[in-house]
């Protein structure tokens, strides 16, 4: 078995070739998806007993970062797919349907998408307007899904909704809906500043499927115990990759200047040094989160603790802010050659892509949740927690 990183390097190379075209045309990364399937990387997180490779979230994060160096949209697609897979792995084992589905993902290298965001609710993951309607062995569901990344290209979509038409807005479930079980009518396009290759269009989603496809655990548990953490960790890994590549370009720029004028330190070198220190913070932040997540897998009190939720939220707000700052620095270092879209030092795409980070579940919304949790959570006085 070839190491994940080697398999991912090939995918990253393919993503690099097409990154500018995706961005220009706002089109789906078909080539990256093909390469991911060929390398059988869509199922590594799934346990071996179902045909996967029992990879850790850290393995997946490393791949997200590797692809993210070259194409943020491709990397985000891979991250979002794995976030959905992690929900199946953590919460689908008690259900035959979901175990079989995990096997299918491995065999057929299926791509999963997510429909949590809803018209009238926005990024408030833990509330839904739409509801599941059980009718015999089947359920029906209609959702105004305002953002579904690569929704038109996914093999299945994991959709959140209220448990029943009379359930309160926070009593949610998550259901797997296969491509041929749902009608997607496009309601909004995706002509955006960045992350253009994610094709995160809006859809009216109407589905009818067997009720067995609803995950047996309440979505409250899925969100708290897998989705929030895996989202924030894998997104941060993608942004780390993007920031890293922007800074590498700035570093190359400064190095070329230094070679051109020996014995004179180029002015941009100072900013590169400053940004490198921020990049180290980003790496430490994300790695610490991945370690904490791995520890919590074996300790359900830790996994459901206030401290864990605070830590996972901090990773996202921290990484999204730092990535923006690092890329700003890179732009200042490269100057006009960074601002132009067709030089080896171009930073424009990185910058536009990373502007999505603070709004992808708004940082202010996250700070709002955390300000509540911090009323009871006490800061850990230990450096090594």
């Amino acid at each position: 078995m070839i190491a994940f990183a080697n398999r991912a390097a090939e995918v990253a190379a393919v993503a690099a070739q097409h990154a500018d075209a995706l961005d220009r045309e706002a089109r789906f990364p078909h080539e990256t998806l093909r390469a991911l399937k060929d390398a059988r990387l869509l199922s590594i997180l799934i346990p071996e007993e179902f045909g996967g490779e029992s990879a850790s979230l850290a393995d997946v994060a490393e791949i997200c970062s590797l692809i993210g160096q070259n194409c943020a949209s491709s990397a985000m697609m891979y991250a979002m797919h794995n976030i959905k897979v992690s929900s199946l792995v953590s919460h689908g084992r008690d259900s035959n349907w979901h175990c079989d589905f995990m096997q299918r993902i491995c065999e057929e290298q299926l791509l999963l998408a997510s429909a949590t965001t809803e018209g009238g609710i926005g990024g408030d993951l833990r509330n839904s307007i739409c509801a599941v309607e059980i009718d015999g062995d089947n359920f029906k569901l209609g959702k105004d899904a305002t953002v579904i990344s690569y929704g038109a290209h996914a093999d299945a979509i994991l959709v959140t909704a209220r448990r029943a038409p009379d359930a309160p807005s926070s009593d949610q479930v998550m259901a797997v809906v296969l491509k041929d079980q749902c009608k997607l009518n496009r309601t909004t396009g995706w002509d955006t500043l960045g992350m253009r290759g994610t094709c995160s269009e809006g859809f009216r989603l109407d589905a009818e499927a067997p009720a067995a496809q609803i995950l047996p655990k309440p979505f409250a548990e899925i969100a708290a115990q897998s989705m929030l953490a895996t989202s924030h960790l894998l997104w941060s890994a993608v942004w780390f990759g993007v920031a890293n590549n922007a800074l590498a370009r700035a570093q190359n720029f400064v190095r070329a200047q230094a070679k051109g004028r020996p014995n004179v330190t180029p002015p941009g070198a100072l900013r590169v040094a400053e940004a490198a220190s921020m990049l180290q913070l980003m790496r430490a932040n994300t790695l610490d989160g991945l370690r904490r997540f791995a520890r919590a897998q074996a300790d359900s009190d830790e996994l459901t603790s206030v401290g864990f939720a605070v830590a996972m939220n901090n990773i996202k707000v921290g990484a999204s802010r730092l990535a923006g700052e690092i890329i700003n620095h890179a732009m200042l270092v490269c100057g006009i050659l960074g601002y132009k879209n067709d030089t080896p030092f171009s930073i424009g795409r990185h910058m536009r892509d990373v502007l999505s980070a603070p709004i992808m579940i708004s940082n202010d919304r996250i700070f709002g949740n955390m300000s509540n949790l911090l009323l009871i959570h006490r800061l850990d006085p230990h450096l090594a927690s």
Partner: protein, 83 residues
């Protein structure tokens, strides 16, 4: 004890159902307790009983039911009185 907690759940738990209808072992989250309301409820219990929940109790299990909350209280209270 359970009755006193019930009253606080009614006042601070923002539950869609009255606390009187909750059995001591019933899952509060399934009955509609949100994480925001958990914090408010926790603060109200701390204030009412003059206790403080230690960090290790700040997890889902501690607030999963009325009797789980009472069990936390019973664990904290003797320590408080002894100190």
């Amino acid at each position: 004890m359970i009755e006193a907690i019930r009253k606080l759940v009614d006042e601070h738990g923002r539950m869609p159902v009255p606390a009187a209808s909750l059995k001591p072992d019933q899952d509060l989250y399934a009955a509609g307790l949100t994480s925001f309301a958990t914090v408010q409820l926790m603060l109200a219990i701390e204030e009412h009983f003059d206790i403080e929940f230690p960090e290790r109790m700040l997890n889902r299990r501690s607030f999963a039911s009325l009797s789980a909350i009472a069990a936390c209280f019973n664990e904290i209270e003797p320590a408080r009185l002894a100190s």
